[in-house]
Symmetry: D2
Subunit: 183 residues, 4 copies
């Protein structure tokens, strides 16, 4: 039986993004039966309905195809100004359109937010969930993942080495895998 | 005394955007003492902290300067997937950074949301307000502006001609002007 | 095989509450295999952790037992001041406590909001969903249910007779039953 | 000139409530020109529109009168299930009604949230702000106040003695006083 394809969407474009490093850890520790991979989103033009009249941009077409092929979706995001970064919102909008061709529809999903401060991206986490209701991503409720003081979890090479964080993420992913199987 | 400069930020890039047409109406009916103008946001690259290390893109610099010069800010936005469009969130993020140089800080502001359905962009309206708290835009509370069934308000040339909508917007702007004077 | 027990929680205490009338319609049209019933919440004292030290009030004990016995939960709520009514929030809090005895945990759920205006209780709907994440009620995403202009749906005796509304609710409940079976 | 009356509303009914202890600190350190006092809310029956037909309960009448007499309002709240406690939402609803007699209207306000964990009641803070928009409480934006790990701030007698927390609250109140003067 083919592996389940789990797409990861990272909300930060920064080269040394902590969220991307979290994603890298999850990719490297994919359990049997699951293939996890990061889908790039920074190349997408801003969503504009006019672009879908006629020939949509190749970036839109390719991204929608990539989302279509996924069995589940995982969002890993920082918080910008108490909400999600534009680049992540744009990815959600692009693959949800044109009307009637929502590529997210019915897929199981999960959300991880992080911040360098204590709050762990709570605002981004729940604002993202509000959009997931509309695009019908079936978002896991518990455990929630708000990773505060995120910078402390990595070694000099950028590898996620903090054991508490690893344990938390491993438990989170186990719950997510159960959620994917259930849905 | 110089006119108060009120910047308008439109959340949709569509050529025939209803929200832009609302903005056009407001610009054309600016009261004495206020100069209202639309600031373009579609040209801004996605915010990425790396871009601010060294020489930030010209689009960032110019937009931040333009926001800096404003006395007040008005957001007019559709709702995409129960939240605000990426292009509008990006504009907010760009002018809020780099750290310590938040150009929105302390300006009086207001929010208008709209939708072609009944709900009038409620989700976008309040998600935007959550970001305004952080960037310290002092957002007017009442009256709220949720413009539902927005398409019916325009004539064939795209002019906002519906009298009820005009009256509502005129009252809204009068309240906003009072709010600007108070702050 | 026993019928599935679906508890309905109504956010308004008003005798002629539209939301209760919606609940009555749903109870009267329960499909085979499902037993739907309204659980009263107006009798619960405000949640206060002190009340759980020693002997909790009989109202708490009884309500928690009632929630424990449910297979699924349905919230039907008006919007008060852009959020959910206190009486509904209190019911959620009471059955979620004491710590470690969350009676909602893992149950499939759904949300219906309504208003006499156009917006249909959007604010209440999504604020409620934020709490459902924490208490691990697995909330159905689509279809969403925002019933605007709710007053027009009833005859003089208070019966929900509007056919469009009936069809919408029937489709909503069919989707909810599928969601319950899946979870 | 009479002192400005600032009403404090505490979201927890617990006898040893941390939020009440924060309120006590603020009352004891009221600056010149401001009289701060806690208004009790636990005695209010659940809001129910039927209670306002005819003779409303004495508790409603008295509370509405008390709110009416205030120059500013301050909410100090824990987070219950990612939202505000019922008792606080109820107080907001009671003084906002009956229709046309919103006693909060136009008053300057501020929000402090706290939690024993790291997140500091972010969810409660912003859900409360959404209601403040509707009741037209003019809520201060910055500084935000999310007090995490709140339990560590008190001595054995329940007095707020942590100096960092005192400094933060003093700065917060200074900003709030400026906000009150401006509005």
């Amino acid at each position: 039986m083919a592996n389940k394809q789990v797409g990861i969407f990272v909300g930060s474009l920064r080269k040394e993004s902590f969220n991307r490093k979290i994603a890298n850890y999850l990719v490297s520790s994919s359990p049997e039966g699951f293939e996890m991979k990061i889908l790039e989103i920074g190349q997408l033009p801003f969503y504009n309905e006019d672009l879908d009249n006629g020939n949509p941009p190749k970036e839109f077409v390719d991204f929608r195809d990539a989302v279509k092929g996924l069995d589940a979706v995982l969002f890993i995001t920082p918080e910008y100004n108490r909400s999600i970064p534009a680049v992540l919102k744009n990815a959600i909008d692009v693959a949800s359109r044109p009307y009637g061709k929502n590529m997210w529809d019915g897929k199981p999903g999960a959300v991880i937010s992080s911040s360098i401060g204590a709050i762990g991206g709570f605002g981004a986490n729940h604002i993202l969930r509000q959009s997931l209701v509309f695009i019908n991503v079936l978002a896991m409720a518990q455990p929630e993942a708000y990773i505060g003081n995120v910078a402390k979890n990595f070694d000099d090479s950028g590898k996620l080495t903090n054991e508490d964080c690893q344990k938390f993420l491993d438990a989170f992913m186990k719950a997510f895998h159960n959620w994917i199987e259930k849905i």
